[in-house]
Symmetry: C2
Subunit: 454 residues, 2 copies
């Protein structure tokens, strides 16, 4: 029995997965789950559905709801943060502004989606507010950070707050697509995946105790092209084919380790992202998850899910488990809580301060690495040195971007925001970059950011 609050519980897909996982975890039955959101309608729906799901699965969860953050935090032992401040629309509008200035699909990291708009301002500010509230209302609780940007966010919270924080993502599961595509039995596979969130690499890849990279090399040499011409590939959705796309293979060829999950997109080379044609060439038929096609598919997926939940909510006679069968989602939040609360020791892939885990990365930078979790806490498993080329051409530049974003945020430094844009290879001139930042900052939802970044 524990108390878990979910901040931003209106994130329908995500909260649904947590509830299913919780109901499947016997050692957490009878727990209290506090759903918190500022969107009353969404909150009510998730509340109704969670109660029904718990009842159907006999998990006996105590489900509560609140629109008040303080109320949610008081007494919580675990706080899951899944908030996307302002939703997606402002970010989409900022993207449209950037495209007007010549930045196809927006500026900065290739996954600007994750940043929640300019300088990641709204997200980072919220993260710090939440951590501050936790220090007041539940100082011993764990903050389980699911909201993006995980890399910047968890590093910031770690540096600025005393709260125990750990970042959780599911991107590393992409290795299963590799294993499946190579026709290997997952049970005989051992991997070490390491890096930063959305920038993780298949460092060790063993099959029956032997290095399995040669199996991957052979697939690339003999089967990759056939796969990329197959009907399966040509009809696949972005999240079905990116992991074994030409982008992944080329990134591996240039850096020396295979990129895992979102890394294929967000740590790959700028020329993969020049235009839709390039994106299609490198990421598959839809141009990948963050092309205009892929992203629209994702937003539609979210919308359909929401409609499905509304439908289920308004038809209380339907059995939820028939629509959402009780199988583990693969998300790590509930296993993490179970391990800490009930000493069910387990190995997870987590975002934690480096403290020597990856060589050559400062201690106070958050890395995504294997970690052993039990009642004594979260302990990173030593990774050691990554190949130098990956470090120098990919990981350290990515780390530098994180530091730039945090510096701009902490010092309220508009010049830094402009310099970040100016470094984009598509930048035509400094004045153009400056005008873009000024226009984004002048949007109605950015009034506070406009004041903040001087």
């Amino acid at each position: 029995m524990t108390t878990i609050s979910i901040i931003g519980a209106g994130s329908v897909v995500f909260t649904g997965r947590l509830i299913v996982d919780l109901c499947l975890t016997k050692s957490l039955h009878n727990s209290t789950v506090i759903l918190m959101d500022i969107n009353r309608e969404r909150l009510n729906i998730m509340y109704e559905l969670a109660i029904r799901y718990s009842r159907e699965t006999e998990a006996n969860l105590v489900i509560k709801k609140t629109m008040d953050r303080r109320e949610a935090l008081e007494g919580s032992e675990f706080v899951v943060n899944t908030v996307k401040v302002g939703g997606y629309e402002p970010m989409e509008e900022e993207r449209r502004i950037a495209e007007k200035y010549g930045y196809y699909r927006g500026v900065g990291e290739r996954v600007s989606d994750y940043y929640g708009g300019i300088g990641a301002y709204h997200q980072l500010k919220f993260f710090l507010e939440l951590a501050t509230d936790m220090e007041k209302y539940c100082p011993d609780a764990w903050l389980i950070q699911a909201a993006n940007p995980v890399f910047e966010g968890v590093t910031l919270i770690h540096r600025m707050s005393k709260i125990k924080v750990v970042g959780v993502c599911h991107g590393h599961l992409g290795y299963k697509d590799v294993v499946r595509r190579l026709g290997l039995n997952e049970e005989n596979v051992r991997v070490t995946i390491a890096g930063f969130n959305h920038n993780v690499w298949l460092k060790d890849f063993l099959y029956k105790g032997e290095n399995a990279y040669p199996i991957l090399d052979e697939w690339i040499e003999k089967k990759a092209v056939d796969y990329w011409n197959s009907e399966e590939y040509l009809k696949s959705l972005p999240w079905e084919c990116e992991q074994m796309s030409p982008a992944a293979v080329e990134t591996y060829r240039l850096y020396g380790l295979f990129p895992i999950g979102d890394t294929v997109r967000s740590a790959s080379l700028w020329w993969f992202h020049k235009d839709l044609e390039s994106k299609k060439k490198w990421f598959g038929p839809t141009g990948g998850f963050d092309s205009e096609i892929g992203w629209t598919l994702y937003l539609n997926f979210l919308k359909e899910n929401l409609e499905k939940l509304y439908y289920l909510a308004s038809n209380p006679e339907l059995k939820l488990t028939e629509f959402y069968p009780p199988t583990f989602s693969g998300e790590q939040h509930i296993p993490l809580i179970d391990a800490i609360k009930n000493d069910n020791q387990t190995l997870l892939q987590l975002n934690i301060p480096n403290n020597g885990i990856i060589s050559g990365i400062p201690d106070n930078v958050v890395v995504e690495v294997p970690a052993l979790v039990d009642s004594s806490g979260v302990k990173g498993v030593h990774v050691g040195a990554m190949p130098k080329r990956i470090m120098l051409f990919n990981m350290i530049p990515r780390m530098l971007k994180m530091e730039q974003i945090l510096q701009a945020f902490i010092e309220g430094d508009r010049t830094s925001l402009i310099l970040m844009v100016a470094e984009d290879p598509r930048t035509l001139s400094f004045d153009n970059a400056k005008a873009l930042i000024e226009e984004q900052l002048s949007q109605s939802w950015n009034m506070e950011a406009l004041k903040h970044y001087k």
Copy 2:
């Protein structure tokens, strides 16, 4: 009395300055100077002139010459390295190849001039050979590294060799141009200049003990534009006007500290360097030191100096001190030697391993900082934290470039060479970058490099 060898003594301007400085330094009179070069003609000229200069100034130097490196090193207490392997022509040809591929004035750092061609291969290889020879023939001698790239070179030697090495440059003297332009009395000025070679910043700037940045700000606000429109500016040579050019002011505005010396060019923003028109706008009437105009002026300056020396050499009745008056050059090599050899303690601006001098820079990275020198050795003066924006947007990216160059060199990694080019904002495609590297590597003088970078 000490023994100093100058490796690459055919560098006429440079060697001449050292001889003049030596003859002016009484405590080093009677020293032995071994001139070494593989160019017999140049070596002979410098030998004749050095003997005459010493005689005219009654410095009583013992001048020797040799084309054999081992002979030069044996018994040396100080070894000054001023070698530019292969001279400038191969570099110029590599630049022409790069321009064909769309890279105006060549690729990589804005000062590709300094790198001696692709991956700085020839220079770095020579530096290590020299250090290895010193370990054998004069293991206790100091290596005074004047040859570029000083940043990459001294860092490499420090990491790979046990030889005592220190990098010396004169770029920091640019601060005197600032002082002069502001109309300040140099004697009342105190500065701390810190960073990496060709990437140094005016960290402390005091006039009569008070912060002098406001004086600089006032000059920028009230007088800069007049200066840039003045006949003096519009007729000036690149090395006369860069220090107070619009590029310097804009770099200061964007990064927060004033750039000193070559930094104005080599640590400034990419859009200053787009084409000759941009260069003229930012660096003055000739487009700066490394534009086609500025660089031709510099090569002509070298040529004229060489002709002058040939003329003086073939007219032994002429008095050299009339053509090269005995005044200190401002170069630091001889003061450095004097301080170590004769315990004449002095404060110099030197390139040495960081070891905590600048916060946030690894210990084994060579920084350019104030250093106290005497018989007990070279000791960096603590600098502390640089402003975060300079670190994150300029110094750390520059440090990363150094590490990339060294990684490519040490691992013989051609992919890294290509990735370095690919990151240039002017790169059209990866294949274009690759073709450029392949073509540069296929030049006759690069046959060894072609084998090295696999």
